[in-house]
């Protein structure tokens, strides 16, 4: 892949690349936009350093990739429903994303991507790990690939979001009165790259359709453990004003909470996606 307007340095052979030579606060030219998109499709998660972004600039960058998603249960700052606040400090009892997951997979049409901007990162710690679901799928036996290719799984959100968000007095998005849940194929084909990836995650996936409870649990346990294989991963070390942009259709991530009582704070903009097939 040749890039003319940006520089792209891979973090691992499998997933992740740092992109330099771009100021995300400014409007992007078509060529630069296309190259950032190419880098995201190739590396599945891309990182930018030293980006100063207002909420409006953050949203404008996100809108280049699609309409913005509104989280079902987490209210945004006043006037910015598309902004998800990510914040942990000495008072935190838990932090967001501390298990392997892809964002909001319980939606019927889960987000294609998420763009996280941290304005405050701990001096040491608070990394995020990313795992390639292409690599996870490719490493399965052919027999297992065939079996999983015919199965779907249920993704639910009440057990995840009722604790963290609505119990703090928030309301569900757009007057919805039920936590989202959806059935998605276990193996999904990426709509842009055409590559297959595993699409179950330990955050939201609760059971496999058509299997007995014990069978479903055993197979999901295997998949959750398989997905956590280090060869499929990269680990990103944040600085203040770093940005990570991941493709939720082929990537899972997990935040590392090793920095208590320090502060880690930022905003996420989430881009809408389509129904997994």
């Amino acid at each position: 892949m040749t890039y003319e307007t940006i520089e792209v340095a891979a973090l691992s052979p499998v997933i992740g690349a740092e992109v330099s030579g771009v100021d995300l606060a400014q409007p992007l030219g078509n060529q630069m936009y296309a190259e950032i998109h190419d880098a995201l499709m190739t590396h599945q998660v891309i990182f930018f350093r030293d980006q100063e972004l207002t909420l409006d600039q953050h949203k404008a960058f996100g809108r280049l990739f699609g309409e913005l998603h509104i989280h079902p249960a987490a209210p945004g700052p006043e006037g910015h429903p598309e902004i998800l606040v990510i914040h942990a400090d000495e008072n935190s009892k838990h932090v967001a994303g501390n298990v392997w997951h892809t964002d909001v997979s319980a939606d019927e049409e889960p987000p294609m991507g998420s763009i996280l901007h941290l304005h405050e990162a701990p001096k040491v710690g608070g990394d995020t790990m990313f795992a390639s679901m292409y690599a996870a799928y490719d490493a399965l036996s052919d027999t297992m690939k065939d079996f999983l290719g015919g199965l779907s799984a249920c993704h639910e959100s009440e057990h995840v979001h009722s604790r963290g968000y609505v119990s703090r007095g928030g309301k569900l998005r757009d007057g919805e009165n039920a936590y989202p849940s959806a059935v998605h194929p276990i193996v999904r084909t990426h709509p842009v790259t055409g590559r297959k990836g595993i699409y179950v995650n330990s955050g939201f996936t609760t059971r496999i359709e058509g299997l007995a409870a014990g069978e479903s649990r055993a197979l999901l346990d295997f998949l959750f453990e398989h997905i956590a294989t280090p060869e499929f991963q990269c680990r990103f070390n944040w600085q203040s004003n770093s940005v990570a942009f991941w493709d939720n259709r082929c990537v899972q991530h997990r935040s590392v909470w090793d920095y208590h009582p320090h502060v880690r704070s930022g905003h996420r903009v989430t881009v809408k996606g389509d129904r997994p097939v």
């Binding site: 052979p13 040491v124 710690g125 790990m129 090793d258």
Partner: protein, 277 residues
């Protein structure tokens, strides 16, 4: 922690630090030696960059920390039985250390530390992950800690080393040594720091003494998974002539093999330790 002769830069709040300001090929002054030792005790694994060392210099550095260990079964370069060759390349069917482990825990007196010097690294990939067994122990409930403190486990090597090295007989010090195995406490107290840490690993530990097989399997399975918690980890990105020095008594590690068919090549010197207690 004050250092006067070296600089110490932590990789994570829990484990790992990069040391600068020292040339390991030269004799170390007592103050520099003491500070490197203190950094190792504090951070459990320490890293050095741009170190050009031959085998003799590598061994001299290792001997500052104790007598050198001779691997029970791995072949070594002619005239250097204390040198362990680490190599992955286009012909490799497997690589060393791809399962979470502490080195040679099947010995009655397993090594206190290992010093790995890589001469050739892939352009991208080939990282090593390190896990703090202090953090893993501290992360258990008091009830589980109390239970584990009374237990011992078997560490065996034939299933690990038999495949890779074969049994040549009379392998160490000219003595007939079969594949070693040993019974060690599950919770060991570090002889220098006095801190408690978990001392079972997926590679060598086969069963818990005094438990039924199913009980042992369930408890070991839990512990292996617990040890893999990312909050206990750091991930080190090698360059040519990087050195990692880990304390096998309180750190486990796992090599990533994500760089096939590229070459990753270097040598390890291993420092003898005492019987876990």
């Amino acid at each position: 922690m004050q250092y006067e002769t070296i600089k110490v830069n932590p990789l994570s709040p829990t484990i790992g630090a990069e040391i600068s300001g020292v040339n390991l090929a030269k004799p170390l002054g007592n103050q520099t030696f003491a500070e490197i030792h203190k950094a190792l005790m504090t951070h459990q694994v320490i890293f050095f960059r741009d170190q050009v060392m031959d085998w003799d210099q590598h061994k001299v550095f290792g001997r500052r920390f104790g007598e050198l260990h001779v691997h029970p079964t791995a072949p070594s370069p002619e005239g250097h039985p204390e040198i362990l060759t680490i190599r992955g390349d286009a012909k490799s069917k497997q690589v060393a250390g791809q399962t979470w482990h502490t080195d040679v825990s099947c010995d009655e007196e397993p090594p206190m530390g290992s010093i790995l010097h890589l001469h050739e690294v892939p352009e991208i990939g080939g990282d090593t992950i390190f896990a703090s067994m202090y953090a893993a122990y501290d992360g258990l409930s008091d009830t589980m800690k109390a239970f584990l403190n009374g237990l011992q486990a078997w560490h065996e090597s034939e299933h690990v080393h038999g495949k890779r090295y074969g049994h040549k007989g009379g392998m160490r010090d000219g003595k007939e040594i079969l594949f070693p195995k040993a019974l060690h406490p599950i919770v060991r107290t570090h002889p220098d720091t006095g801190r408690k840490c978990l001392y079972v690993n997926r590679n060598f530990t086969t069963r818990i003494e005094g438990l039924a097989p199913a009980e042992s399997k369930a408890l070991l399975g839990f512990l292996y998974q617990h040890i893999e918690t990312p909050e206990f980890h750091c991930r080190f990105n090698w360059r040519a002539n990087s050195v990692a020095f880990w304390d096998n008594r309180c750190a486990q590690h796992r090599a990533l093999w994500d760089y096939f068919p590229q070459t990753r090549h270097g040598y390890r010197v291993t420092v003898q330790g005492d019987r876990p207690a």
